[in-house]
């Protein structure tokens, strides 16, 4: 998507939430990162941002931009150029931060309605996204597809460093059984009313396939 949108002169920004870095991924830090990416794609830094930067230098030791200021700057800059905001793993954001971030994104959307937001996360945050973003969006369930799994398996097999343990028969077996098993697991795990967890059953190999 970045390739496609970027090729059309749009600005594509992205942010990845991470459990391991939760504490440091504050709303101001996260949205400041998006703003930095937008500004980085502009010919010149907007004068309002330059002024804000100068103003803060008057404060002892300076200070970072406040969330409200960042939102305002993002509203302005996103209105200047078509902007895509991509956010990965929203569920890995601290819950109280998530509220502030979604509300901030909503404010940006209100002022710059052409801004597109692409967000990924686990199912339990779907309702929160819908609520905080005022029903502006759609939800799309992501499931592994057979041809994707096969592509992935080919890549992993090509990169296998234990080539002595692999032969054509084993390779064919892997390429046949794993995609089949994964598809069956997903049918089971996504069937309404089916007993058990909605989390896909995973074996060790699949864990290594889909988790990095």
């Amino acid at each position: 998507m970045g390739d496609r949108a970027g090729g059309q002169g749009a600005t594509v920004t992205c942010f990845y939430f991470d459990f391991a870095a939760q504490a440091g991924q504050s709303p101001a830090g996260m949205l400041g990162t998006l703003l930095r990416q937008v500004v980085g794609g502009l010919e010149e830094v907007p004068k309002e941002i330059v002024q804000a930067y100068k103003d803060q230098k008057q404060v002892i030791d300076g200070r970072g931009p406040r969330l409200a200021d960042i939102v305002k700057m993002l509203q302005d800059t996103a209105s200047m150029k078509r902007t895509f905001i991509c956010i990965d793993a929203l569920d890995e954001c601290v819950a109280r931060y998530r509220v502030e971030i979604l509300d901030s994104l909503n404010k940006i959307q209100q002022v710059s309605p052409g801004t597109r937001m692409f967000i990924t996360g686990r199912p339990h945050v779907e309702a929160e996204v819908g609520k905080r973003l005022s029903g502006r969006g759609m939800a799309l369930r992501i499931t592994p597809r057979r041809h994707d799994i096969i592509s992935y398996l080919h890549r992993r097999l090509d990169q296998d460093i234990r080539s002595e343990a692999m032969d054509d028969s084993l390779k064919a077996d892997i390429l046949k059984k794993i995609p089949q098993d994964v598809s069956e697991m997903w049918v089971k795990s996504t069937t309404p009313g089916e007993a058990g967890s909605s989390r896909p059953l995973t074996n060790i190999y699949l864990d290594s396939c889909w988790y990095r």
């Binding site: 998507m1 390739d3 949108a5 992205c14 942010f15 990845y16 991470d18 996260m30 400041g32 990162t33 703003l35 930095r36 500004v39 980085g40 010149e44 830094v45 941002i49 330059v50 930067y53 803060q56 300076g62 970072g64 931009p65 960042i70 078509r82 990965d88 793993a89 994104l105 959307q109 209100q110 309605p113 052409g114 597109r116 937001m117 692409f118 967000i119 990924t120 686990r122 199912p123 945050v125 779907e126 819908g130 502006r136 969006g137 759609m138 939800a139 799309l140 369930r141 992501i142 592994p144 597809r145 994707d148 592509s151 992935y152 890549r155 909605s198 896909p200 699949l206 988790y211 990095r212």
Partner: protein, 213 residues
Amino acid sequence: MFAGDIFCCVGKNTVHRILRLLGLVREFAVGWYVWFWQGYASDTEKRGCEPGCYKTTVGENDWAAMRCPRGSTNTPLFFSSQRLPQPTTFITRFPPSFRTVKMSHQNINSFNNTNSLNNTNSFNVSDSYNRVLNNCTVVDDRPQILAWLSLLEPRLRHKDILDGRIDNVGKWVLETEEFKSWYAGSGGSGSDNAVLFCYGDPGVGKTFIRYRG
């Protein structure tokens, strides 16, 4: 580097930027910082900086600098120089096209004569006191402002993910009506379908969706 030689460190789009400096593209020049000082290349060091980032210390006897205020009707040339109150360190990020242009003494004229710009590599450096300035570097606050906005570095995570992606894995997502509707709306002013939330259990590949058209 020889004492008395003049060299100029110029950034990306050298010709355009020099034109800015000379006031030929006045409207683009305002708002830029122009720093220049006496000194030598040895003053410039990379230590402690990211790749492409150079740190230079300007001493109290060095010459610096003028700011070209936005909206200024003056050509953003060098003659408002003032002494720095104390040694000051500037950190400048030079783009890949950064290069050094060696100047010749015989070309030293007044900057005020912009018509003397026959060759952008031989523009002349002197100050209003008819003093030759050994070095001049064109920088602005852009890197500092960007760093001020946020110190988080999603680029590292982004690179990891790019390295792990496989072409066309997740292509089906981009062919769904939901995605097309969301993407197509990006050119319009309406906010309907402005948000696409892709959800799924851990490990289904949400992060690694990729399509190269």
